[in-house]
């Protein structure tokens, strides 16, 4: 179960730049809105949410610090990666450097220019002409205002004087009021109030237009409620929501009591508006002057902050893009290393559909192809190695300096080498027996431009100290560009073939000789018998004739026997194949010999579960008779106190699927130089031997597709080994014999 954190990390790592950018923008906007909403504005309840602001400030500072830390950490990491020479670090550094350079230089220049411009622009707001015009406008407004004030005051004073004077002549308050109204109209005042000593309004007059124009004269100011201390006139300004007024208050005696005349003059709307504008302009200008430096600082700070943001952003984007570029490149490099190590299952996850993604896809495809090709090559190699290993012909490959590069099992067996590893890397002539070296030299030298192969039959003493006839073929090895790279040596063990050929030749010769010899033998025998018959009874020559004819007949018989043996050797046996219990056959023979030769200890040991074997009983029987006979003959001489033994061991060899019979004696053994020849016709160590027994035995074994060879027995004597394959098809041609020797 993948944890949420890991799932989020996986999602974030897969999220594209658009997703991240969107998130960033949304968070920034939200943050800005949140910050703005926290700002306590001009609402009625001035609530300073200290906790919220504190938290917000801390979050903001934390975010800033985290950003600086992350960017700084990545930059430091980048430098360290570069120093360590990590793959892709240089490209990343260059990209980030390019981004930073591209943004830093113009940004810094822009910042300096903008801040200078800003500073000068703001300073320009307060230039002498600007200040002079503001001051001038204000002065004009003041002068005009003062003039109006003076006029209103003067008018009010005049009205006060006139009303005071008129009170002497006018009797009733109504007449006074009328006079006051006429005075009001004359001097152009909007309203006149007569205030008593206690601030009570005794008389009120105002312009009828006041009601029409929808404004009202302001009430009596509170500080005028007590007029008892009012000694001097005063004029003041008052403003309502709709209008501006100049009011004057002048002490007066009204109806014999101290009072005050409060006049109200409404400033014309146009003038009021103009005055308001002047006031506003002045205030704005003064505020601007006041905040000149803070404003400048804030604007420049804003500029610096955004520049910093741009630079940090550039670094971040540069790192991001560099990572996006070098990440796949690093993975590709790692991939090539893995593929070089033979790991064809390495797969790079494709990111994006751009050229990098295409490159990654190509790499993955290449890896898949390589894997397929490698598998096929491996299959072919195994196939080839299997063929080479099972090939009966020895194959060796050499380089141009005759150093062995490879040898198959057959060639190893020929030269009696355990493993290929023991000879690979050695020179060919270190391996070859002395007797073969001239032949190989000749073969190799004979290879020239015109001939690419050369062959020669050689004979040498190989495994089991037997002579081997080998057909050596040497050829040149070429590479796909047809350049010579070395040699290939084929070693075809034709010993069996040679033996068979010799055997066949001997058979043919034997057949002819037997035939030629036997022909005259009958007449000679008949003549000798006739002489004996006719002259045997003669007293003078009778005894001589009888002796002579007997001798002639005896020798003719002997020659006939010899000729018969030759015929037997020459004649291909008529096979009578049948399933045979070989151990039984052998043990019966052993029993016969044991009875005839009580002085020799005969032993027959066989495995209990030997399979039956199809063979020609008579041929095999003759074979074992020959071998046992030879063993008995070898033990016929005196051996002192040594007991004479003949032992037969029979067991099944699973590896070669054949029955192996070992017939050994503890006689004098066979000399080394004879071992290679004893299976050839007319080779015998016996005085009266024909030399054909072992040749016939070898022929019988070969006819059964088996092997027959001889070794020294331990501690003394000779051991004949017969290998008869089980299940061999004796009707087909002889199969290729494996490199003889022990199975």
């Amino acid at each position: 179960m993948v944890s949420r954190r890991k799932r989020f990390a996986l999602w974030w790592s897969r999220a594209g730049i658009s997703v991240r950018l969107t998130l960033f923008v949304v968070c920034t906007v939200l943050l800005g809105v949140l910050v703005y909403l926290q700002r306590p504005l001009n609402d009625d309840t001035y609530l300073v949410s200290n906790v919220a602001v504190f938290a917000l400030v801390n979050i903001n500072v934390a975010i800033l610090v985290i950003l600086i830390f992350l960017v700084g950490r990545n930059v430091v990491k980048l430098f360290f990666d570069r120093r360590r020479g990590m793959l892709g670090s240089r490209l990343r550094l260059r990209l980030v450097g390019a981004f930073v350079g591209l943004t830093l230089i113009p940004s810094v220049v822009l910042v300096f220019l903008a801040s200078g411009l800003l500073s000068r622009a703001i300073d320009g707001w307060f230039s002498s002409p600007a200040e002079s015009s503001v001051d001038g406008a204000l002065e004009v407004a003041r002068i005009h205002f003062r003039n109006v004030e003076d006029r209103v005051l003067e008018s009010t004073k005049q009205v006060a004087l006139n009303i005071q004077a008129k009170q002497l002549t006018l009797g009733t308050p109504e007449e006074l009021k009328q006079y006051l109204e006429s005075e009001r109209e004359r001097v152009g005042l909007y309203g006149i109030l007569v205030l008593g000593n206690d601030g009570v309004v005794k008389m009120s007059l105002q312009n009828a237009a006041a009601e029409i124009e929808n404004f009202s004269i302001p009430p009596v100011p509170k500080n005028l409620s007590d007029l008892s201390h009012l000694k001097n006139s005063k004029v003041f300004f008052e403003e309502t929501e709709t209008s501006q007024f100049i009011r004057a208050v002048v002490p007066v005696v009204f109806l014999s009591e101290p009072a005050a005349l409060l006049s109200t003059h409404r400033i014309e709307p146009e003038l009021a508006h103009a005055l308001t504008l002047v006031r506003q302009s002045f205030k704005e200008y003064e505020q601007l002057k006041l905040f000149k430096h803070p404003l400048k600082s804030v604007y420049i700070l804003t500029l610096y902050m955004f520049t910093g943001l741009i630079i940090f952003g550039a670094i971040w984007i540069g790192m991001y893009i560099a990572r996006e570029l070098t990440g796949p490149i690093q993975r590709l490099a790692e991939g090539t290393r893995e593929v070089a190590r033979g790991n064809y299952d390495f797969h790079i996850r494709k990111v994006g559909d751009d050229e990098i993604g295409g490159l990654i896809e190509s790499f993955n495809q290449m890896t898949r192809d390589l894997k397929s090709t490698s598998f096929q090559s491996e299959q072919r190699k195994i196939h080839l190695e299997t063929i080479m290993a099972h090939l009966a012909v020895g194959v060796m490959t050499l380089d141009r300096t005759l150093t062995i590069r490879s040898m198959n099992q057959a060639s190893l067996g020929l030269f009696q080498v355990e493993t290929e590893r023991a000879v690979v890397g050695r020179n060919l002539f270190d391996l070859l027996p002395e007797e073969l070296q001239p032949a190989f030299s000749q073969l190799i030298d004979s290879l020239g431009e015109e001939s690419s192969t050369a062959e020669q039959e050689v004979r040498f003493v190989g495994k089991n100290e037997q002579e081997h006839d080998v057909l050596v073929t040497v050829g040149t090895l070429l590479d796909p560009r047809n350049e010579w790279t070395g040699y290939i040596v084929l070693l075809d063990d034709i010993t069996a073939l040679s033996q068979a050929q010799r055997m066949s030749a001997w058979r043919e010769a034997a057949k002819r000789i037997a035939h030629e010899i036997k022909n005259p033998l009958t007449p000679i025998r008949l003549v000798a018998q006739r002489l004996r018959k006719n002259l045997g009874d003669n007293t003078e020559v009778g005894p001589t004739i009888r002796d002579a004819s007997d001798t002639i007949v005896e020798n003719v018989d002997s020659i006939k026997r010899l000729a018969d043996e030759f015929s037997k050797f020459a004649r291909m046996p008529q096979s009578e194949l049948q399933e045979t219990d070989l151990p039984r056959l052998v043990s019966d023979l052993i029993a016969d010999f044991s009875g005839q030769h009580p002085e020799i200890q005969f032993h027959c040991i066989s495995d209990s579960d030997l399979p039956k074997i199809v063979l020609d009983r008579e041929q095999i029987r003759r074979l074992f008779i020959n071998l046992i006979d030879n063993a008995v003959d070898a033990l016929s001489s005196s051996m002192g106190s040594i007991e004479k033994h003949v032992e037969v061991r029979i067991h099944f060899d699973h590896r070669s699927n054949s029955i192996r019979v070992e017939l050994s004696d503890n006689g004098p053994g066979i000399p080394e130089k004879e071992k290679s020849r004893i299976f050839q016709p007319y080779v015998t160590t016996k005085e009266k031997g024909t030399g054909l027994g072992l040749a016939i035995a070898a022929s019988a074994v070969h006819d059964h597709h088996g092997n027959l060879y001889v070794q020294d027995n331990f501690p003394r004597g000779a051991k004949f080994i017969i290998e008869l394959p089980v299940g061999a098809d004796l009707q087909t041609k002889r199969r290729l014999v494996r490199g003889g020797g022990e199975a």
Binding site: P40, F237, L290
Partner: protein, 199 residues
């Protein structure tokens, strides 16, 4: 000058002392509330075309010995003073919120007079702060005494310098520094004044 000005914006609260409250007269039905403000810096503010707003926040609270104190709703009174460059006078306007009285305006030729009026509520009826206050001639003296004994006034004053650029600067500074610098108003905080201790 600039340093002082910046100091003003950031430490206005430091200049504000605790408000003082005392009875208007022996009837003990109205109080006079007087706050404090630094004259020189306010003068600079006003002369620079800015308007000084002095806000009074008042509430009447009852003390409970075994429970949390209970308070009435907060009442507010706003005072503004600004300089008129044309008339060369200081305009003071006062407005008690949530009552039926209109805004009053006064004009002063001297700033000191204007500032004195700015930081002062000359007559604040306790009935305005709490409808339960036993006021008038029908009021039981004992009830009144008990009321005065159990209640106290919470007073808070907030002074701000208002103007187009000051607000702009305040908001910009607040946003740009992500809330670190707040040039908004500074206040005195709530000050508890037991009614029984008033003079």
């Amino acid at each position: 000058m600039l340093v002082l000005l910046h100091a003003f914006f950031i430490s206005l609260a430091l200049a504000q002392g605790a408000p003082v409250v005392h009875w208007v007269d022996e009837s003990k039905e109205s109080v006079v509330v007087r706050g404090e403000v630094e004259t020189d810096l306010v003068e600079t503010c006003v002369n620079s075309g800015l308007r000084v707003e002095y806000r009074f926040l008042l509430r009447l609270c009852r003390h409970h010995s075994n429970w949390f104190d209970s308070c009435e709703s907060v009442q507010k009174q706003l005072h503004h003073v600004a300089y008129d460059p044309v008339t060369r006078s200081f305009q003071l306007s006062t407005d008690r919120l949530r009552d039926d009285q209109p805004q009053t305006r006064l004009t002063f030729e001297k700033l000191s007079s204007a500032l004195t009026a700015l930081v002062r509520i000359p007559d604040l009826p306790l009935l305005f702060l709490s409808g339960n206050f036993p006021a008038g001639s029908d009021a039981n003296a004992e009830q009144k005494e008990r009321f005065l004994r159990n209640h106290y006034i919470d007073v808070r004053t907030i002074a701000t310098c208002q103007g187009e650029y000051s607000e702009t600067l305040t908001q910009v500074s607040y946003l740009l520094t992500l809330g670190l610098v707040d040039l908004g108003g500074k206040d005195s905080g709530w000050e508890d004044v037991p009614l029984s201790s008033l003079e």
